[in-house]
Subunit: 142 residues, 2 copies
Amino acid sequence: MDYLESYRKIVKGSGVIALATSVNDMPNVRIVNFCCDKENPSVLYFSTGNDNPKVIEFNENNRVAFTTIPTDLNDTPHIRSHSAVVQKSDKTLDDLKNLFLEHSPGLAEMFEMAGAYLSVYEIHIKEATVIAGMEDIGTVSF
Amino acid sequence: MDYLESYRKIVKGSGVIALATSVNDMPNVRIVNFCCDKENPSVLYFSTGNDNPKVIEFNENNRVAFTTIPTDLNDTPHIRSHSAVVQKSDKTLDDLKNLFLEHSPGLAEMFEMAGAYLSVYEIHIKEATVIAGMEDIGTVSF
């Protein structure tokens, strides 16, 4: 099994991720839209409001974990990682707008309304677990 | 808006949650099935394998966070909490099997196959945020 190929397919087919943070060993988690440049699958991009509480959490501790969302835990492929860090991107929403909308066309309205207040963040993934099936689990490293 | 009533509806309509832990300030997150007894909405039950890595994490730090999964971040009601703790339940899977299957009928096959290896855990929620709509956000406390 080519787990990197599975990883790419799962990322492409997932609209959102659950993104977890921790500050003083107190976890938090929220659902975020994201996109990924196929040339560099080890980085996921997401946008968030500049004054969103999660930004404060990122500044306290940049280690994050995420999972894509399986609709059926028994047979939906998904990926998980807790070897990741988050950082503010040098790219702007304008730079990545097309990539976001290609990934999730439903974001257009939100970008139209709130785009001026959004910054782009990057999740840099060192290693991810690919759960291709109940007994078909592999690892990709970047 | 009666946020407790919204909370109950969202819990009832959600098949899975994203459950986050932290050990030594390193977050982790996974998707779990769950169920909830309507008589006591401040406790969510889920089952997990006795030797699952998450059990080790719970023993290290029992503070957890969770979110239900909105399908559209713009208009899907969801709940989130990071004021929660996890503990092993005194109840068995047999005690709660009907409640689980009422919540998620799709679990029947998994329980049939792996039931003997599963324990029940409880998430005790002190406070949850109810995102009923983009600009309709409230809190429930227990």
